[in-house]
Amino acid sequence: MNGYVEAGYVVVLGTLGTYGVTLVARERSARRRVGAGSNKARNAAGSGTSAPAGSGTSARAGTSVPQGDASAREHRAVEEEGPGSAPRAMSP
């Protein structure tokens, strides 16, 4: 066999495998965080005030993201903590 051939297969299969595994790991991690975030919202809402409209699991059930999505993205952009971080409270 030719060394170039082996190198080509290793690069192609290695890259695709690594990318696939990384995607699945990130997806599982995001799923866990979403579950934890949902509980946090539920607890906060239950500790003295009503939850905002469209909050909690109703958002998770639907395929589209509710109205708060745009501001949430802006919030994430301001925080600049990457896709994995849970946003903190907004400044007034």
Binding site: M1, N2, Y4, V5, A7, G8, Y9, V11, V12, L13, T15, L16, Y19, G20, L23, R26, E27, A30, R31, R33, V34, G37, S38, K40, A41, R42, A44, A45, G48, T49, A51, P52, S55, G56, T57, S58, A59, R60, A61, T63, S64, V65, P66, G68, D69, A70, S71, A72, R73, E74, H75, R76, A77, V78, P83, A86, P87, R88, A89, M90
Partner: protein, 253 residues
């Protein structure tokens, strides 16, 4: 607060099972392509064993084109007011990201093949140059998606960028016809002669490579789409939790 409806839950379970089956099928297909490509098919009359690289290189390029085609179609559907939906924006982003991975692999596998064949890792050939441009254009598209802004503004400008970048795809494909190129003309079906230049076990292995890597593309795009969906949801829930916390503090204070 309530759990998702039973229909939604069963739908999700069906999608998860379908994705798992797709993943296993793709894996088996890729394994079979590698086995046939490395151990079963004969060496080429002119290229010798180097022909074995061509069982993965053209499928990489095909999948990249497919990915950009899907991204463009999804972008078009987002821009069209009657079909505008966030899922199309997410699909475009997911497909383009996977397309960039496959374009990178097309360039690298082509370069590894080119070194012993042409005597150079890289030549400024029209096909190679336009493919490198395609890679850079879609990297720019992915960077543009991360520029902060309101969701619909970001999605709109990304969709326009995806459509502009897609102009390079037919240029890449036809560059070997339009300009004098070091790269060989299409072998599976030559548009000029309308003939195929691959036969027997080589043709079947190449075909299997195309199918298997297409399945890999679908699997990767589906997972990338689900990740984007979860990230959007996470953003929304995080904001809602923060707002609820602030309200609770205000009531307590």
């Amino acid at each position: 607060m309530s759990t998702p409806p039973r229909a939604v839950q069963s739908g999700r379970a069906a999608v998860a099972v379908a994705l798992r089956v797709l993943g296993v099928t793709a894996l088996v297909g890729v394994a079979a392509t590698v086995w046939l490509g490395l151990f079963v098919t004969p060496p080429d009359e002119f290229m010798g064993n180097l022909v074995r690289l061509l069982y993965v290189h053209p499928p990489m390029a095909w999948v990249a084109f497919l990915a950009y085609g899907v991204a463009s179609l999804a972008s078009l559907l987002y821009l069209w007011p009657r079909t505008r939906a966030e899922r199309f924006d997410r699909l475009a982003g997911a497909s383009a990201e996977v397309g960039v991975v496959f374009t990178g692999l097309t360039l690298v596998s082509g370069s590894i093949w080119g070194r012993p064949t042409w005597g150079a890792w890289w030549v400024w050939d029209p096909l190679l140059t336009t493919t490198a441009l395609l890679f850079v254009l879609y990297l720019g598209y992915l960077a543009l998606r991360r520029v902060p802004g309101e969701l619909h503004v970001r999605a709109r400008r990304s969709a326009i960028a995806a459509l502009i970048a897609f102009i390079d795809v037919p240029i890449v494909y036809l560059s070997v016809e339009w300009w004098r190129s070091l790269h060989q003309a299409p072998t599976v079906l030559n548009p000029t002669t309308q003939k195929t230049y691959v036969h027997g076990s080589m043709a079947w292995t190449l075909l299997l490579g195309f199918v298997s890597f297409t399945l890999v593309y679908i699997w990767l795009t589906a997972h990338r789409y689900r990740l984007a969906e979860l990230q959007d949801l996470e953003d929304t829930e995080g904001l809602e939790a923060a707002l609820a916390e602030r309200r609770a503090e205000a009531v307590a204070g």
